[in-house]
Amino acid sequence: MDMIVFILTGAFATATPLLLAALGELVTEKSGVINLSVEGMMALAAAMGFATVYTTGSYLLAFAVAAGLAMLLSIVFAALVLIFSANQVASGLAAGILGLGLSALLGREYESFTLQAPSGLSVPNLSNIPVLGSILFEQDIVVYLTVTTGLCLMWIIQHSRAGLILRVVGEDPHIAHNLGFNVLRVRFLAILFGGFMAGLAGAYASTILTPIWSQGMILGRGWIALALVVFGTWRVLRVMIGAYLFGALLLADLAVQTLNLGIPSQVMTSMPYVMTIIVLAIVSRNALRIKLNAPVSLGQSYRPGQ
């Protein structure tokens, strides 16, 4: 029982950096741009977010600095793909490597430093509910904000005018252009939002989830966020469920090992990846629906007037 509560409680925090980055990438991809620099943006944000908390003690400032830097990196990427119509995959990889390199350089002074972990919130009254109280109402504030952001995005993308414009641009930039929308501006804002969210994800990873900075600590979580968007078939709710499931399975691996059920640890360690793929594959088994959700112009450059 303790173990199940441990898994279900911890999964929220474990999933939060993945979800933040994935939500940002989802919006970017909905506009028809694939940004592969998520890992690099997260690393850069993690390094500088950590450094900010370490030197000033302010989490708010740290998240602002981290988001700002990741947005700067996303502007570099945006300049390459929007102004120079460079290949999106290559540009994203380049910007990502730049981010990783900068994170190592800027984080050098803080290598393997640690911070005091901030204590979680405890929602009055509700957190006293047995079991469910500690699972749902003793998380940190970023977890609640992330879930709220996800729910808002779900509505915005599906039902608002802004969401409709975003989707039109992602489906067919030429039609969007003919309808009078500024395709490049929409894509730029979507890329910027992706950077903003990746920045928050990085700062969360290095200051709250694991209050430590070490070069390379993001360890592929940016790539997992990218994969979640694809396996979640560009649907916000599925991406949210996928991230939570992945977080829960990551912890289940560790928790089950402590019980020693005789399962080799390597099998358990691969479980989150295997299970997330299986579950999302089943959820998204309808190929037609994937096609409906996938932005048609994803990865294609657009130049106005061509």
Partner: protein, 358 residues
């Protein structure tokens, strides 16, 4: 890739200038795979280098580079060092092994010393500390403070060296607290993952352990988590007291410097022999550090007395009878395991509650 360019450039310029006077001091190249942090593998390698430099002073000239993990960068770096007249090169990553062997083969006046590999070759030596000796002593500390006799271990990979340390730790704990049984183990299957390391610590803590042993985690994340949750922490490689000011129980502190000084002496005296160094407490390469003030004087003295016995050679942790966790006696009474047995250890002692892959 990018992060390695700066230190590499700096090192190349450094080499170009320092190696032009080839006859006077002994030229030594020193490569460490990751950034040198506050604790852990790279930090200890680098501390060993400092100890070596302090010992030899002007007699040696050392060019140190960090953040050069295995791969083409490392190959280039070591070839460059050799080409510019290095007499000795120290390689700090397991992954430098194959390149290092080739390097030694190609350069007749070069001694290559590699950390923690399993191969030796012509002018290619390898070394490893006897971590398990300190593990045994820290196990004693854990046995003393574990009120509910619940121990938890977070370990990197199921390799013989790691298994040996776990076994010694449990044997040490059981030697002072026979109630120790069902020691919980979480394998990270990674040398470095702070987030997973922390989660593993939290999983064990929620499982009710009194003491957490963080075995080669590559990061102090588990030690911090133990401190926050009021659980004792035992660390490997370095004293981690700074990450757990009140809950640091014990650490196996390595002193690579002692090993390096011997190698440099042998090269200076012209009797460098490529081989395998397995150095422990007796060779001053290992000791317990950061013992918690919560241990009573008697307990602390018992641990230090045992350390003296290991130093004097009158005690070895892996002395029979030892029973494995399926109940078979694997080492008979009075028999001491050989270095080969220890380096190839593939059984778990009684009390370790985990499964090894076949």
């Amino acid at each position: 890739m990018t992060q390695k360019t700066l230190p590499m450039l700096a090192a190349m310029i450094g080499l170009a200038t320092s190696y032009s006077y080839a006859d006077s001091p002994l030229n030594i190249g020193f490569i460490v795979p990751n950034p040198v942090g506050e604790v852990g593998w790279d930090h200890e390698l680098d501390r060993g280098r400092q100890m070596m430099e302090a010992h030899f002073g002007d007699q040696i000239s050392v060019t140190a580079v960090d953040s050069v993990g295995e791969g083409p960068d490392a190959t280039r770096m070591m070839n460059r060092m050799a080409a510019q007249g290095a007499d000795m090169i120290f390689l700090g990553s397991f992954g430098h092994m194959n390149d290092g062997i080739l390097l030694a083969k190609r350069n007749e006046n070069l001694a290559v010393i590699h950390a923690g590999g399993y191969l030796t070759g012509e002018r290619f030596a390898t070394y490893a500390p006897r971590h398990y000796q300190a593990s045994y002593l820290c196990g004693m500390a854990a046995g003393y403070v574990a009120e509910d006799a619940e121990l938890g271990i977070i370990a990197a990979f199921p390799l013989p060296e790691v298994i040996g340390m776990m076994n010694a730790y449990v044997l040490g704990a059981q030697s002072v607290n026979p109630a120790i049984n069902n020691v919980q183990v979480v394998w990270l299957n990674s040398w470095f993952d702070p987030a997973r390391n922390r989660s593993a610590a939290e999983a064990l803590i929620s499982g009710g352990v009194d003491v957490l042993y963080s075995l080669f985690p590559g990061t102090p994340a588990a030690i911090s988590a133990a401190e926050e949750n009021g659980v004792y922490a035992v660390a490997t490689l370095s004293d981690n007291s700074q990450f757990a000011p009140t809950k640091h129980l014990c650490a196996g502190q390595t002193h690579f410097g002692a090993i390096y000084i011997n190698y440099v002496n042998s090269v200076m005296n012209g009797n460098f022999a490529a081989g395998d160094t397995f150095a422990g407490i007796a060779e001053d390469a290992m000791e317990v550090a950061g013992l918690s003030p919560d241990l009573t004087d008697n307990q602390r003295n018992a641990i230090l007395a045992k350390q003296d016995e290991i130093r004097a050679g009158t005690f070895e942790p892996f002395t029979g009878p030892i029973t494995d966790n399926s109940g078979d006696e694997v080492v008979t009474r009075g028999v001491r395991l050989t270095i080969g047995d220890i380096k190839g250890m593939n059984f778990l002692v009684q009390g370790l509650d985990t499964t090894l892959p076949n």
